[in-house]
Symmetry: C2
Subunit: 351 residues, 2 copies
């Protein structure tokens, strides 16, 4: 059976509708029994030997032809074929479709259903590992009605599926300090020599100078972001006030400090305790329901703070997501634009 190229798609006549659409979910029916196949669909039918040729081209020739002419054809074909191999029917969105506007390359139908149903299991964006991926676009996609997925094809043509979501990071942590302690900026941290015990023990700010054993007379070390937050909320007295801490933070970290303070403040406001995520290469790890440092439990999220106009290198995403999975935490990105914080989480998916 042969197809021919028409308007960038492939038209197949004969009983194509019955053979490829009705029974196996390929293409879009045209009038009569003809079928319109997207280039990835045509290539897949050629690959399987179900189509013999398209305009005289066999699979190899058509693959080369389409790679030259269709944007990201090779990676889209690889993902199409992989998902077919996992038992899904799927299709590129039609032009003018909402999904297309959201940047989806492939709509994957729930197992057992197909293009004739309305249900969509995954909206998949496909990129090669060298692409630059707009963080804000992922956050928008994550906010949609069905599961948004980023499929990354690496240089060896292996595929990593990443699931996008817009989680709420919230908890019940709060605190009440009996008095306002004083702090002094020393180096890149703030030393609080006579803190109320609750500052560390129930509010979980800082780290005792003498180690984790408890706060003695030795003082509590606060990070600059913790100190700036406490000073701004009136819970710490520092020479020069919150402005001085913030100024010092900017000096050692630049604008990144403001972004981190904005994200930190949003998390604390949502009842979550953010602590450093350094050991995980992140900005923060978060605890939802802290009552006492002696009973912290597991931290749920790793949070990386980024400017809202950040573009991901897929490899960096893969690194973060792999690490978070390995320590049973969810990987979240806090995208900061002024005072606005949008949270995007990314996890591994096996479709």
């Amino acid at each position: 059976m042969d197809g021919r190229i028409e308007d960038g798609a492939v038209r197949v006549g004969g009983d194509a509708r019955q053979r490829f659409y009705d029974s196996r979910g390929y293409g879009r029916p045209l009038s009569g029994d003809a079928l319109k196949l997207a280039p990835v669909e045509a290539a897949h039918l050629l690959f399987r030997g179900d189509l013999d040729a398209v305009d005289g081209m066999d699979f190899r020739a058509y693959f080369a032809h389409a790679t030259e002419r269709v944007e990201r054809f090779a990676v889209r074909f690889l993902v199409y074929a992989d998902l077919r191999g996992r038992g899904f029917y799927l299709a590129p969105p039609r032009e003018g479709d909402d999904h297309a506007a959201e940047g989806a390359d492939l709509l994957v139908f729930p197992r057992g259903s197909g293009p004739w149903d309305d249900a969509v299991a995954y909206r998949v964006r496909v990129v090669g590992e060298r692409a630059s991926v707009d963080a804000a676009a992922l956050a928008t996609a994550a906010d949609g009605p069905d599961d948004a997925v980023l499929a990354v094809v690496d240089e060896e043509s292996d595929i990593t599926y990443l699931e996008l979501a817009a989680p709420e990071i919230a908890g019940s942590s709060g605190y009440d300090l009996p008095r306002t302690p004083e702090g002094a900026v020393l180096g890149d941290r703030v030393l609080c020599w006579d803190p109320p015990a609750a500052l560390y023990e129930s509010a979980f700010f800082g780290r005792p100078l003498s180690g984790r054993e408890g706060v003695g007379d030795d003082g509590l070390q606060l990070s600059l972001v913790e100190a700036a937050y406490l000073a701004e909320t009136g819970s710490l007295s520092v020479d020069g006030g919150a402005a001085a801490v913030r100024e010092h933070g900017r000096r050692v970290e630049g604008e990144r400090f403001d972004r981190r303070l904005t994200a930190y403040t949003a998390l604390r406001t949502a009842g979550v305790v953010p602590k450093t995520g350094f050991k995980f290469g992140a900005d923060f790890r978060t605890y939802a329901d802290v009552e006492s440092v002696d009973d912290l439990g597991h931290s749920e999220f790793l949070v990386r703070v980024l400017p809202a106009d950040h573009a991901f290198a897929p490899r960096d995403l893969a690194l973060d997501v792999r690490l978070a999975g390995g320590v049973r935490k969810e990987m979240a990105f806090a995208l900061v634009d002024g005072d606005d914080v949008t949270v995007l989480s990314v996890g591994r998916l096996t479709p």
Copy 2:
């Protein structure tokens, strides 16, 4: 007991030598029983209450004083105190000492020995998490006689110890191809339609287009770096030769492609099979002794390729090392300068 500041150090008279040096490894003996303490040592004795004051300053005042005057004092003190707490005697290297030239901040003596012996367990460099860490300097330190360690103090004053080494990544993988196949550059990969089976099955180049099941008639996808290497070693025939593949690689990856090809070539030459490390956020994972893809075993190293003049952000190092540890691989950095490749490995250490 009191000390006084002298030439940037702290001099303590009386029976200081016996009390602090002979029995507990602090300071350097001066004539008589006097002792010269480095600022971190004096601060630690003040912190413990063994010294009462230095020029009238108690611990808090001296800590603030030294933080203002001594480079990276706060982070060096935190590491000094932490290692003391782990039962080690340690000291800053003396001026003019070789260790100082190598950039070590603290020499840690083996447990049970001290500054009066010659043995050194660890040479420790101390940085704050916001520092920029010269990769070449770490590689030089890693090549030294005793264990080189990078201690990173994060913003919350927690310490991560990273052990530096200069491993040889070598193996026994080799291959013999019965004929030279042809490849075609398609998109960001090279398609080899009729490869000899050995190209994938024993030499472990590429990935079958039909998935991991084996090479059929469907062809083998090679990464650009694999294809460039094969073309340069005469094992792949491509239009335009190796130069064309290399040119395409540069177009999509810039200079990074040349660095990666140099590292890839060095690894293959050393009998190791490098495959993509994308899922781990690295450039390559390596297999030392590949005879067949059906019996690959565990890949030993994750390799990130960097220019030799790279400077690490400690947080990125923490991320890579944590991930590698989680998947039981060694994290290695291939520092590339022209055709030279220096390998630096970094692992977690609990001193």
